[in-house]
Amino acid sequence: MIPFEFKRPVLLEDCTLALTQLDREQQLDHLANLALLRVGRAELKPGPDLAVLVEECAELGLTAVVSLKDAAALEEALVPGLEVRVSPALLPAARERQLPCWLVLSGVGQLSPAALARELTRAREHKALGICLQDELGVATPDGVARLAAFCRKAQAALGMQTEVLWCQRDTEGTGIYGALQALRSGLSGVRCAGLGLGGMLALDTLLLNLVLEGLWSDPTEALKTCCAHLVENLDLRLPANYPLAGRDAFCTSTGVHARAMQKALQMGQPALADQVYSVVAPGRFGFSHRIEVGPLSGRSNVECWLSERGLSASPETVGRILEIAKAHYRSLDDQEIFTLLEDRS
């Protein structure tokens, strides 16, 4: 496939902590995992532990960020090392207090070029560190994002601005990840996102998968898996089975044709081939592994692979009997059901 061409290193800002009510220990766990992923910035929620979390961020090499919603919150943000995200109305007041500020522009999907240029000028006047373009309605298509991003870069060049620009979009129509890639390709610095797409935001994990596949991010090994598992457990989420990477079925097959191809590759002594014959990426790169199940659409290969993975073997008759039962069943057999069948046969 044709690789994307990107111009600069990608900056990721993770909003997961600001969207959740994790306790301090859980927040620190998440920050540690983010550090392993080398995400540039982590957004925190204002609160009594804010100063401590900012220190932890600094130790882990992350920039701590907090979004301010009103003037009263400005005082809470007077923590050394903390960056703030403010609306245009709050920018002057925040700068008066000498807070390191980023300007958040809402509704950019419907903001005219003239209005956008006005806001960029305002950001320059108030010496904003960066700008966050936020399309909270998710109205910009990927092509629209590219046009918006290109205009923004041109306007910045005309204004002599060097500030970083982040893209933030609500993924309402299934095109958000590609929109984020288009924003990066069009010259924006990075993307605001949240683990598992919390709050309807762009999903950090799916975006990272794409950046890895495009060669823009080194393999995060186990860190991404740990991050996803941490969120699922602590937020009590029910992840759809087909969720990319972290979903139950992301690396699972129960069909006969696919299992047979993987089995043949393994029998040829080529586990790398088996890993990729029916997968976009070798799951081991992300700390996951393939799973083969036995269900109504399975063949003998599924049963044989299932047994082999567990160091078991069975007679051809037993394999046939298990397959017969699976094909008559209304869903995949679970491990216990297969063990029971094996015991019955023995």
Binding site: M1, S67, R170, G174, Y178, L239, A250, H258
Partner: protein, 561 residues
């Protein structure tokens, strides 16, 4: 129903109420609610409640020359005091004002868990309510104009969602205008005298009903107070759409800009034949779904037919036994009920898979498409021990076998996105020469990005020419299923494949509901909200999906930015 005499020659105007008009609206509320049984019969005075303190009010006025007359009105509850809060205080007295937090509908129903999954940082929530119309002026579009006006006002205030507590007997009216019922079970609450249901209006969606509201909001931003009216001097009869016109400059805000380029080349997405449903075949390859019995499959088939898509894959009869019997019954159902679907079945390149299709063709006497698939990538060839000559022999033999016997052949190359261009050229050329009238490029492992899909489809078109249809079959392993399908259509593909809720093996297929949403958004086709919801509900129920698509924890707090 004949409209009152003056309606035929006067204008209907929807606009925000001023201080002087507010008592008239409260009086009209009282009158309508007393007559409808919501209040004691014969009740008099004004209907005012504590929520009015935080409201914006819309009025529907008729002007027959003697000055505007209020014939209807509605309110929009916000989280801050409304512009008329002092007038409300004067009318209601201090005890009633500012006494209630939140929304009226939240006293009756629990909205927050569902909203927590949807609301994005910074998005606002409002409540629509107290929509009333004088009895003589019902059924002429006054209520519809008021509801759309409320939606436009909400959009102008930056709201993403509106909630409402609607009388159960008026649900169909509100759902036609973009409302979604969150819980079908009607409730009789102590604060109500009639059964009510919770409604949610998603103002961020391109619902056909809310397009008018978006237009209203756009004009409201551009020119000020909203006036909805029909032909100059005349109210349109029921069923015709009101036209938004501008009035004064109360809201001197900039009109929304559209950064998106016009997608003119997506116009063929408006044809039903451009969408192909794979729920009953590739969708069932998900390891986590329940395989429904034939009754369930027939219900899913009917729901697919209701969507306005052109074709559906019924399964792979070559699997034998129960699957073969089910596919035959589904094909018979399409023929007997004359469902507007072209039936399709999957088959490998072998007699054992193709002969059951010939039986189905004989039994139904209708057209039958076969998705004849064959692995094509080098990696697949390595794993299977195949070479290109072997693949070409299979293609030549079995495409010809199927086409010669009356099957419409769609030649499917598995793992097309990782196949070598020269291999694809030879495989497709052979298939077309032996009678395939359609080819299908598949992203079996979900590795493609939209640029690659564009290049691939253009390349395939140059191979097969204009007379052969091209399909695109995408997967969601990278979260790019939808943009890849749109890219395929833009590049010249004739049809794309999708499944309900994106179910399928591993990370699943392109979600059909999102493709339908894009069809509505890019081609002006109606957004069939109720049918799409019915389709998704049927599939979720029959396949016993464990996690609904809106899966985020209701406990999540939403951060205002």
């Amino acid at each position: 129903m004949t409209p009152p005499p003056e309606v035929a020659r006067i204008a209907l105007c929807i606009r925000e109420l001023n201080e002087d008009e507010l008592p008239q609206y409260f009086a009209l509320r009282r009158e309508v609610y007393a007559r409808s049984g919501y209040l004691p019969a014969g009740a008099s005075g004004l209907d005012v409640d504590p929520f009015d303190w935080r409201c914006r009010f819309l009025g529907a006025f008729l002007d027959a020359g003697g000055g505007p007359r209020l014939v209807g009105g509605a309110r929009l509850i916000t989280e801050v005091p409304g512009p008329l809060f002092q007038a409300v205080e004067r009318l209601a007295g201090p005890d009633l004002t500012n006494a209630e937090h939140g929304f009226f509908a939240e006293r009756i129903f629990e909205f927050r868990p569902q909203l927590a999954r949807r609301l994005y940082p910074g998005q606002r929530l409002v409540e629509f309510g107290r929509t009333v119309c004088a009895e003589d002026y019902r059924s002429f579009g006054v209520g519809k104009a008021l509801v759309l006006g409320l939606h436009g006002l909400a959009l102008n205030l930056g709201a993403a969602y509106g909630i409402a507590c609607a009388p159960a007997h008026l649900v169909s009216f509100y759902t036609r205008l973009g409302g979604v019922v969150l819980n079908q079970a009607a409730t009789l609450h102590q604060d109500l005298t009639v059964k009510a249901v919770p409604l949610l209006v998603d103002l961020t969606r391109a619902a056909s009903a809310s397009l008018e509201a978006h237009e209203a909001a756009r004009r409201l931003r551009a020119g000020g107070m909203l006036t909805l009216m029909g032909d100059p001097g005349q109210l349109r009869p029921r069923g015709e759409e009101p036209v938004c016109l501008l009035r004064n400059d109360l809201y001197p805000q900039e009109a929304p800009y559209d950064w998106n380029p016009p997608d003119l080349t997506l116009s063929h997405l408006s044809h039903s034949a451009s969408l192909h449903d794979e729920t009953l075949r590739d969708g069932l390859q998900s390891a986590s779904v329940r395989h429904p019995d034939i009754v369930g499959k027939l219900e899913i088939l009917q729901a697919i037919a209701d969507l306005g898509v052109g074709s559906a894959n019924l399964g792979m009869p070559g699997a034998g036994g129960k699957v073969a019997a089910d596919v035959l019954r589904l094909a018979e159902e399409i023929a007997e009920q004359k469902l507007p679907l072209v039936p399709c079945c999957a088959a490998r390149t072998c007699r054992a898979d193709l002969d059951p299709l010939l039986t189905i063709l004989d039994r139904t006497g209708a057209r039958l498409e076969v998705g004849l698939f064959l692995g094509s990538s080098r990696i697949r060839q390595l794993a299977e021990g195949w070479d290109l000559d072997h693949l070409l022999r299979l293609t030549e033999e079995w495409v010809g076998y199927a086409a010669d016997r009356g099957l419409e052949v769609m030649f499917v190359t598995e793992d097309t996105c990782r196949a070598e261009p020269e291999h694809l050229r030879r495989l497709y050329s052979t298939a077309v020469a032996r009678g395939a009238r359609r080819i299908c490029a598949t992203d079996t492992v979900g590795c493609a990005n939209p640029d690659g899909v564009t290049a691939l489809i253009r390349s395939l078109r140059s191979i097969v020419g204009p007379g052969v249809a091209i399909d695109w079959h995408g997967h969601g392993d990278r979260g790019l299923g939808v943009p890849n399908s749109l890219a395929a259509l833009l590049a010249g593909a004739d049809r794309v494949h999708a499944t309900a809720l994106g179910i399928g093996e591993r990370c699943g297929n392109t979600p059909m509901e999102l493709m339908l949403l894009h069809r509505a958004r890019h081609t002006g086709q109606p957004w069939l909200a109720e049918r799409v919801q019915g389709y998704l509900n049927t599939v979720a129920r029959e396949l016993e999906l464990e996690s609904p698509p809106a899966w985020l924890s209701p406990e999540l707090e939403v951060l205002p930015v």
